[in-house]
């Protein structure tokens, strides 16, 4: 019967910890490094596309996904869990926001929604916490560019620059030294690639690294013309060629 799974699997330990969440963090820390950097005119999300075999078609898998035209998300941890969260975030941005307020949700609202979903998995019957940490980068009119991290516990933090996953500690130290208030988007991409280079084990080229950018509006990506008061998307993935060009310039 359904009663068999109506109790939570995440329970407190005597020391006051929720061990399942701690273990979820472990899953995240074993995952491939991902990082995010907020610049004065944009946000960069970057990650390594680590494949277990050369036979895998790298182009068919996307680790950096867009949720709304102005918000993108990257993860460290369990890929399937990320997929599910992306689908939920996309749907929820329409059903719980756009269909009500007739505009896309601002970054923080979207982040709170995802965080709530992740928290619910720590206090519901028959489910386990999500084994991912997320970096959400976005733009909205009132708050401009912002970068958030969401953890398996459901906590979320705003960041200027951060990294999650395997090499996160050293990457964060690296970023701390290089981040400045007046960084421009191109500088941020440059720093992102440098940071990734430290933790990437294999070859680093346009096909093994994924970069997503939330930057200036791309009206040419809208797909239509002649409508007033509508802007193009800000989220954009760099093509493998664009990444290779920047790697050459390193």
């Amino acid at each position: 019967m359904a009663d068999r799974y109506s109790f939570s699997l995440t329970t407190f330990s005597p020391s006051g910890k929720l061990v399942q969440i701690e273990y979820a963090f472990q899953a995240v820390n074993q995952g491939v490094t991902s990082l995010g950097i907020k610049a004065s005119n944009g946000v960069v999300l970057a990650t390594e596309k680590k494949s277990t075999s050369d036979l895998i078609d790298a182009s068919s898998l996307s680790k950096i996904s867009n949720i709304t035209p102005d918000i993108g998300m990257v993860y460290s941890g369990m890929g399937p869990d990320f997929r599910v969260l992306v689908d939920k975030a996309r749907k929820s941005s329409h059903t719980n926001y756009k269909r009500i307020y007739n505009e896309y949700p601002p970054t923080r609202i979207l982040v709170e929604d995802v965080a709530r979903t992740m928290q619910e998995a720590t206090q519901s019957g028959g489910v386990r916490p999500y084994g991912v940490s997320l970096l959400v980068g976005g733009h909205d009119v009132d708050n401009e560019f912002s970068l958030y991290q969401v953890d398996p516990s459901g906590t979320y933090f705003p960041w200027k620059a951060t990294a999650i996953g395997k090499g996160s500690t050293s990457a964060k130290t690296f970023l701390e030294k290089r981040w400045t208030e007046d960084l421009e988007l191109e500088d941020a991409i440059h720093i992102a690639l440098l940071t990734l280079k430290e933790s990437v084990e294999g070859e680093m080229n346009g096909n093994t690294v994924e970069i997503g950018v939330i930057g200036p509006v791309s009206d040419h990506l809208l797909g239509f013309e002649g409508v007033k008061n509508v802007q193009g998307p800000r989220f954009r993935k760099l093509s493998p060629q664009e990444i290779d060009d920047r790697l050459d310039a390193l």
Partner: protein, 273 residues
């Protein structure tokens, strides 16, 4: 529970019998057309919205965007067209994100007809759905009860017969883009002039394969208000002032403002301009 709630049906009938009928929903009266051409499809509409005999909006937008390259012209109940179109737009966007493919007109058509059939025609949306997708240019029409038609040229709305007369006379296979645009504009104008439910301007949207769709808002404006030949302003002193009393209502307070808006001619009251 899904579907409409008919609890107030009895109450409404009673009220109607006592002389309080339901107010007429804003209808789009309307002339809308769609036409295929070599390499794309174009749709057009008039811009008059009516509430019974009254013109509620002289320049409303009847061309709705469902996806960047799928647009829809709506006749029937204005709100129903708008909402059903926005719902489809949202659903199709999520579908496209999920499949990783550009949305298709047939998908939109199927979602729409299944939705409209479910509501048994109570959602009064009569639509011409057109667009380009990876399978090419498409043109369809849907009626409120859920039936759909395919065609190279279509018209809907109260002015559909006026428009169809033009289309039947001048349509031919293998139209160029410009020919199709002027054909559609002419068809809408037939509705604007000859149908009382349609009027004002012509809106148009051209969807071409491998190009961004282009919306031509007010492509033709054959009904612009002309400058009045005489000035009807009343000279000062026309109305004699018998008594003047000024009562202070608000205490003027000094505010720091960032922007100064200068209101010109605020002391002149223009009766007619």
């Amino acid at each position: 529970m899904p579907g409409f709630n008919f609890d107030n049906y009895q109450r409404n009938n009673f009220l109607a019998s006592k002389g309080y009928p339901i107010p007429k929903a804003t209808s789009t009266g309307t002339t809308i057309v769609g036409c295929r051409f070599d390499g794309g499809v174009v749709i057009a509409a008039d811009t008059r919205a009516t509430e019974g005999d009254i013109v509620a909006d002289k320049n409303c937008e009847k061309l709705h965007r469902i996806s960047p390259t799928i647009w829809c012209a709506g006749a029937g109940t204005a709100a129903d067209c708008e909402f059903v179109t926005q719902l489809m737009s949202s659903t199709l966007e999520l579908h496209a994100l999920s499949t990783g493919r550009k949305p298709r007109v047939v998908t939109c058509l199927t979602l729409l007809k299944q939705h409209l059939f479910k509501y048994q025609g109570h959602v009064g949306a009569y639509l011409i759905v057109a667009g380009v997708d990876p399978t090419g240019p498409r043109l369809f029409s849907i009626h409120a009860h859920g039936s759909t038609d395919v065609g190279y040229y279509l018209s809907l709305g109260s002015g559909s017969m006026a428009a169809m007369a033009v289309l039947e006379t001048k349509w031919k296979q293998s139209l160029t883009k410009d020919e199709a645009m002027s054909l559609c504009a002419e068809a809408i104008e037939a509705g604007i002039w000859n149908d009382l439910g349609s009027g004002s301007n012509v809106d148009m949207c051209v969807m071409e394969v491998d190009k961004p769709a282009v919306l031509y808002r007010n492509y033709r404006t054959p009904n612009e208000r002309s400058i009045k030949e005489k000035s009807y302003k009343f000279a000062r002193g026309t109305t004699a002032v018998l008594k003047e009393k000024i009562r202070p209502v608000v205490d003027a307070v000094q505010f720091d403002i960032f922007e100064e808006t200068i209101i010109r001619d605020s002391d002149k009251m223009e009766i007619d301009s």
